[in-house]
Amino acid sequence: MPAAASVRSALESAFRSAALGGIAALVLAVPLVGLETLDTPQGLGIAMRWDWVAKAVAIIVLGRLIIALWPAIPGTHLRIWVGVGLVTFIAIAADWWNGRPFRVDRLVAGLAVGLVLQAIVALRARFQSRNGREAVRSPAAIRLDRWLAVALIVCAALLPLTPLADRYIIDLGTTILIYVMLGWGLNVVVGLAGLLDLGYVAFYAVGAYSFALLARDFGLTFWECLPLAGFFAAMFGVLLGFPVLRLRGDYLAIVTLGFGEMIRIVLINFQAYTGGPNGVRSIPRPTFFGHPFTDFPEDGQVPFHQLFGIEYATFHRIAFLYYVILGLAALTFLFTERIRRLPVGRAWEALREDEVAARALGINPTNTKLTAFAIGAMFGGFAGAFFATRQGFISPESFTFIESAMVLAIVVLGGMGSQVGVAIAAVVLVVLPELGRGSVAALPGMFPEPAATVVRVALGLLPDFGIDLDLGRIRMLLFGGAMIAIMIWKPRGLLSRRDPSVALKVPVRAASGAGGQ
């Protein structure tokens, strides 16, 4: 086909797809974006937002046009500049549209971001082998990864000792580690065994309430309850999994979804034991193996600071909690790393890849899946017990579907099966809304000076549509969108890739587009 004709047909199909997208966006936006229901004293009122509809349609049309034409642009460098140029243009056009003065810093930002991207691409090209990606990475790359993981763990372990650590940082670190642990626990179920668990928070709740109630009614301590919490959560997993895991995988997803909701309803209504919506209060704080973190110990107890002969500080308790969850998370990590190399772990991955073939090899699918489900639940239970002792108060409010969705988003974003990826994803997804407690405009203020300038310059690229973007509020929206986008473009995860646990020693070239099957 002559080049001109092929260009014309590419353009034609791009414009057709853009027009179709525009029409669809218009139809979808008219009722829900264009008309807003307002609460007025006379009942429901209606406000019109046709300008939003116009913006939405414009974004969709432009976006589809770019996506359709993207593969036609030759060369990575040209793509970078076309992309950056477009974003800059949109940002400037949005200013013009809203009647704001022209900002030179948008051009500067475009130039800077483009140069940085080009540098990154050039660097990557240097370090990547000419033949592109291989199915099995070189031993050197895997070693590098392992060293990176060790370095990260050492950094995490040293964090409370550095002068950087204050109450807020350590608290945030603890929250991140809880999600890392939940992510790793769910990763066993979703990533390794390929079972979609939409009610993971239920096991988290079982663990939390097990500890809270055992401590309240029987006076057991955190360390006594921890194994019990994991055991109860695992038992719930077995009870729930047994009937469902015999069936097709999709049923598990909806049953776990229902179970997550059911646990919450039971917790709310079973007031005699769970306290209903009021939750369980005054859950005992963790002690350093019997030595409490308090300035005023009860009779016969030696508080932590006396034991070590140091000044009392509330920071000790926070740091201790941080180390406990770090230890639990590390345990989860090591356990998973080991078990995926054992026969049962290999069986999980075999079942995930092809259930029929795995069965033909003599793997019992129900039992194998059940172990994965129970082990995942157990780690959820551990994390739940920790959550209860950290908060000192739990209520059904903490165990909603949003939590399950968040953990699932961490696993999916991190690359199902990849442990390092899940950890990175947990950090990103917990820190992101934390940064956005204010609005995006406040972002540079969160960083120390040299970084703040970088962020400010990069933000110059962010188009201002006159809609206030609050990252905390749109967090779940972004999660949902990201889950769809990742499944379509990078089903093996955005942040990392999963190496097969067991592979042939001879490197096998992957066919193009290794994602997918």
Binding site: A24, V27, L28, P31, V244, R246, Y251, G481, M483, M487
Partner: protein, 304 residues
């Protein structure tokens, strides 16, 4: 006895609504073998569009109620069908032939996305809808307890019956219905004999979404409130209904919906209203243990 009859009427109304949503699940499952998790959200969007349209018509001082209801139902069906079509195009079609978990995760992402989009666009608060259809007929009266069926209940049941008849005719008599049945039996074979598979799948989503929209509008009229989270529990119950009836079977979905509706009504009436949602989930688990193919379903044989 009177109490029982009253609960049966309430349960049938509820069951009709669950049945309408369940059809969307069962049709999609029948054809492409996936659970469309976002279907509950489609139902919620239908309800919202209904409330918005009623409010617009009310503010415009639109006259006859019967015309208004038909108009709102049609408008909601059209717009919600557009949502159904778009969801399939964006989230599911690119994943056909991807690995097993991909469409499920994409669907759950779509569900989260839609829920939060509606929350951000329309607000998190419960939206009230003033009663559109008022009044009721007294059927029985005994011991100071009167059994009545309200006009809205009559409306819901009759609209559902009409839609069921229409749907059955559509599936049995038209070429689109024939294509749908062919795809249900064997997607590849249907494509080989010239059925436009993509269009048939799109049509299935459109049809399911339109029925969910009707259910949404009627729930909004029946309870008088909508909120962005309503699709979640309704979706699970409707899915339970589809599984109970035998997933993939249209009459099964309706039957399952009616059973779930009745069980929920009796459960709330005789046991505990707090645990009414637990009842539906328990049924789901019990059905999966004892009769995974459902009441009217065919056994699911996996071929290699």
């Amino acid at each position: 006895m009177e109490y029982f009859v009253q609960q049966s009427i309430n349960g049938l109304t509820l069951g009709a609504i669950y049945g309408l949503i369940a059809i969307g699940y069962t049709m999609v499952y029948g054809i492409i073998g996936m659970i469309n998790f976002a279907h509950g959200e489609v139902f919620m969007i239908g309800a919202f569009i209904g409330v918005i349209m009623f409010t617009v018509l009310g503010l415009a001082g639109f006259g006859p109620v019967s015309v208004a209801i038909i108009l709102v139902l049609l408008v909601s069906m059209v717009f919600t069908a557009a949502y159904g079509w778009t969801i399939e195009r964006i989230a599911y079609r690119p994943l056909r032939g991807s690995f097993r978990l991909a469409p499920l995760i994409s669907a759950i992402g779509m569900s989260i996305f839609l829920q939060n989009a509606v929350q951000l666009l329309q607000g998190a608060r419960v939206k009230p809808l003033p009663a559109v259809v008022v009044g009721s007929i007294e059927l029985m009266h005994a011991d100071g307890f009167s059994v009545s069926i309200s006009y809205i209940q009559i409306l819901i049941i009759s609209v559902t019956v009409a839609l069921m008849v229409g749907l059955t005719l559509l599936v049995q008599r038209t070429s689109l219905g024939r294509a749908q049945r062919a795809c249900e039996q064997d997607l590849t074979m249907a494509a080989l004999v010239g059925v436009n598979v993509d269009r048939t799948i799109s049509f299935t989503f459109v049809l399911g979404a339109a029925l969910a929209a009707v259910a949404g509008v009627m729930v909004a009229m029946y309870y008088g409130v909508v909120d962005f989270f309503m699709g979640f529990v309704a979706g699970i119950k409707a899915f339970t209904a589809a599984v109970l009836g035998g997933i993939g079977s249209l009459p099964g979905a309706m039957l399952g919906g009616l059973i779930i509706g009745l069980v929920e009504a009796y459960w709330s009436a005789y046991f505990s209203i707090a645990y009414k949602d637990v009842a539906a989930f328990s049924i789901l688990v019990l059905v999966l243990i004892f009769r995974p193919t459902g009441l009217l379903g065919r056994p699911d044989v996996e071929k290699v």
